[in-house]
Symmetry: C2
Subunit: 202 residues, 2 copies
């Protein structure tokens, strides 16, 4: 625990290796000593969620934001989770990237992540429109309702920051999972993708 520990961030289609420093790890364990600027959003946002009162999803057995499972902590993504200069834009875009991770403090590994990405609109009084993306839990940690917790934390964050609308897109097999989380399909709306050929340089 005194040296850098390899962490992996899981996404649907990628495994991304990052290093987490022991310094960060000890700051996480003593969250009150951490510098909020180290995190992609203020950790207070999570601390201020009154999960017992606000949560709407049922967990069986019960888990919570503050107690997801032994050794696991839910916290914002950290500047030190990743060492990519080009990611600075994420940290310098105010109140846009609400990336939450679950870390196993016994190993220093990130075992789950979720992104609430917020777009500011120039209409609706500069309203905020949220999107939930990149929900993933390491296969070894599945069956602990952590994905469910990550999605609910993201929706609670969306409500807290004042999103007027939140969406996600998913494969058909995940529709029942997200339906239980309060999501529904509006048959009037259609998701369309741009063909790759339109993105390739001439």
């Amino acid at each position: 625990m005194n040296s850098c520990t390899l962490c992996i961030i899981w996404t649907y289609d990628n495994v991304y290796d990052v290093h987490i420093s022991s310094a960060l790890l000890s700051r996480i364990l003593k969250m009150e000593e951490s510098n909020p600027k180290d995190f992609i959003y203020d950790p207070k946002l999570l601390q201020e969620i009154d999960f017992d009162k606000e949560h709407k999803i049922q967990y069986n057995p019960p888990i919570s934001l503050s107690k997801p499972a032994p050794n696991l902590v839910v916290r914002p993504f950290s500047r030190q989770d990743i060492n990519k200069a080009q990611c600075d834009v994420m940290f310098s875009s105010p109140k846009s990237y609400f990336i939450t991770v679950i870390e196993d403090t016994s190993t220093g590994q990130i075992v789950g992540n979720a992104t609430l990405h917020v777009e500011y609109k120039f209409y609706k009084k500069c309203g905020l429109r949220g999107r939930i993306e990149d929900i993933a839990v390491h296969e070894k940690y599945r069956g602990k309702q952590l994905g469910k917790l990550l999605v609910e934390v993201s929706t609670l964050l969306a409500r807290r920051v004042g999103c007027f609308r939140v969406s996600l897109h998913c494969f058909a097999k995940f529709i029942p999972f997200y339906s239980e989380q309060g999501f529904y399909i509006d048959e009037l709306e259609n998701l369309m993708w741009l063909k790759d050929s339109y993105l390739e340089k001439n």
Copy 2:
């Protein structure tokens, strides 16, 4: 033209009134004198698009990025198009909000707008994922292929800034329109919305 002119930004579900100053208007007319910082993205990005070479969509009669129609100019959204303090976040988020407008320089009105919103990912080498949003053209200016032009300009911008994926969502009646623009529906992906009740405060 020497006083403030009322402009309106159209979106699907909103009409948003903004004022445009004559100072801005004259700067637009002499784009080379404008301060790039006034715009939400660098106007050079539009100027650098070799539309004749890069465009893939057919226009009949032919129109182009530099010549959409008499009196109309295509330019980035400007800080002075809107006077809302809370919109500052859009201008202080680097390379995230590529909002393009079409302005009728004879009236100073914004008659069309399109947003390419870019999300930075912590995976795919911090790749960029684009979304096209808020395509709208004032009803008086329809039938001039301006919506088509706005969508194509947004996809050309997406390619230029290096998006690896671009999507949009739309009502069924617009599917043929976006299909002609290079968009397709992937039956495996489903768009889901969060119920409003999950966003309301307790």
